[in-house]
Symmetry: C2
Subunit: 114 residues, 2 copies
Amino acid sequence: MPKPISAMKKHGVRGSESGRAIMALLDLLGRRWTLRIIWELRERALTSRALRSACDEASPTVLQARLSELRQAGLVELLPASGYRLTQIGKELLETFLPLHRFAERWSKGNRID
Amino acid sequence: MPKPISAMKKHGVRGSESGRAIMALLDLLGRRWTLRIIWELRERALTSRALRSACDEASPTVLQARLSELRQAGLVELLPASGYRLTQIGKELLETFLPLHRFAERWSKGNRID
DNA sequence: TCCTGTGCTACAATAAGCGTAGCAGGCATG
DNA sequence: CATGCCTGCTACGCTTATTGTAGCACAGGA
């Protein structure tokens, strides 16, 4: 880790001090459940509890933490009516790695997971 | 986390028991330094120490762990001569989120990181 | 009021990550 | 052989992140 989180300004993103946006983004996405959350929100808004179910009953502690970070980053927003959903730029992010889905299939075929 | 890591067969990938390749992939990529490592290997092979420098002097413990996982997943290989580099399918993975670079720039402009 | 669902949080325990230091092996040079 | 330097890799003690369980306050509907 570039810097201890506790040394950052509240809500900062590790790697951002490098001035390289890609580092900050990779760091943000490289935290547990972040990618998964974005993935689960790919086609519909979800309430926090529905999201938790979708994420295999992950701990609400981390989920809330990730949701805060994602909202802070402007990638996810909370609508009182329908729950959490991707923002416009959040959807753009999703689209950049939608091909990942097809890749995953190809990859798992040549890769003995268990 | 779907299951405690210690409950998995050695070298398994969390999420793989769901039968959904994308989950296993998202989980693999959603560990610290994994995305960054792939990124740093995008255009050249690196020795473990060079990779460590590139990754802002990250702890060798985690780096080695990630490299093992990535090799296990067939995305990275170690060449005695030149060091670590992406495999063919590893490069394909990289290409699926190369657009991330451009996205990161766009994203950071509308996002006050610090 | 009572029930249900929402977003969210406390808290203790476990697991992951970190930083320092150092290992064995290969391979050149003296 | 001895010395030095580089490689991949690991031990270990400490800090941080994540987990799991439980529960909060609030809002709406019956």
